[in-house]
Subunit: 99 residues, 4 copies
DNA sequence: GCTACGGCAGTGGCAC
DNA sequence: GTGCCACTGCCGTAGC
């Protein structure tokens, strides 16, 4: 049982109205914390996009850059194993790994 | 101006109630067509999942298989150019392309 | 142990080359089945998009239509409970449910 | 023409090797900036998840909370218009707006 | 049971 | 201004 499920159960509070008020405050606090974090996240996303844009303006290919970032994020060993399997399958299918 | 925006404008229909009925029928038809297509789509998605499951049961690696499918979907030339760029960048960053 | 993991283990097959050939055929079959299904899926997705486009041309709002479809897909009771909770929270936060 | 496209074009640099080195440094800088930002983003995402988890532990429904956040993000007027349309369509389809 | 991953739909930015 | 494409968030699924 929690405050949100049953406001009247709030310890030491014998007024329903007050209990609701407490729940409201708690809810409001959660919502505001989330919204603040989402704002920060949005700001960071904008920054990331800006860096890509700047890189592009410097002649780098954005799609390739994204791949680089993704590759570096992976565990090298897992990545190697996956790549090896993919190549094996491609050979089996008669596909050139260079195309 | 369309039937949905203004049911009374339906040609040859001087009754608002009838016009609404027409709109309703049209709306219903659209919704049902979409729902039927979504059902078919779901069935196909299920089939795809089944094939992957079956492939896995036969010893194939699902993640690698998915990569194969994705690679085959790409334009070979674009893919080659992208891969080449990625490798160039990796070399520049001192990363092994094998890991 | 499966054919894909160890081609030589294929029962009654004492030739490595032949075993590889079998794996290749099996792999090829899986890939082709998936690709065929993905084509069908794409066709259906195109059809769905077409229906929305047609509905739009008839004066219906696509975004609202999508919501309708989503609502109808939900379990009515779950939906009702969720809606009720959302309204409760909105009231608690002093938000109008009409805006 | 940019440094990345043609390293030899870097002003005042008559050595190909040096030009490559410059490109490498620039590329490295972009990659590191992005990775730093992605780390920050990940931290924020973790924080957001934590807040939802905490809210859940306090008896709030996460799905409803997410809806609240989404609603507050929308333009109130647009939202109202969309809601009105959805209800109109539901009525036309004979669906209860309460279920 | 939850956590991580992949797929899907919606949104926004970009190019024509 | 429109259409296209990529990114982001959400959801359902699979694995620990």
């Amino acid at each position: 049982m929690t405050a949100a499920e049953n406001p009247r159960a709030v310890a030491g509070d014998n007024s329903e109205a007050q209990a609701h008020k407490v729940v409201r405050e708690v809810l409001k606090a959660f919502v505001e914390r989330i919204e603040k974090l989402e704002e920060e996240k949005k700001a960071i996303n904008d920054d990331i996009r800006d860096v890509y844009t700047e890189a592009k303006a410097n002649g780098f290919d954005v799609k390739a850059l994204r791949k680089i970032i993704a590759i570096r994020k992976m565990d090298p060993q897992e990545r190697e194993e996956l790549e090896a399997l993919v190549e094996t399958y491609m050979h089996a299918l008669g596909m050139s790994v260079f195309a």
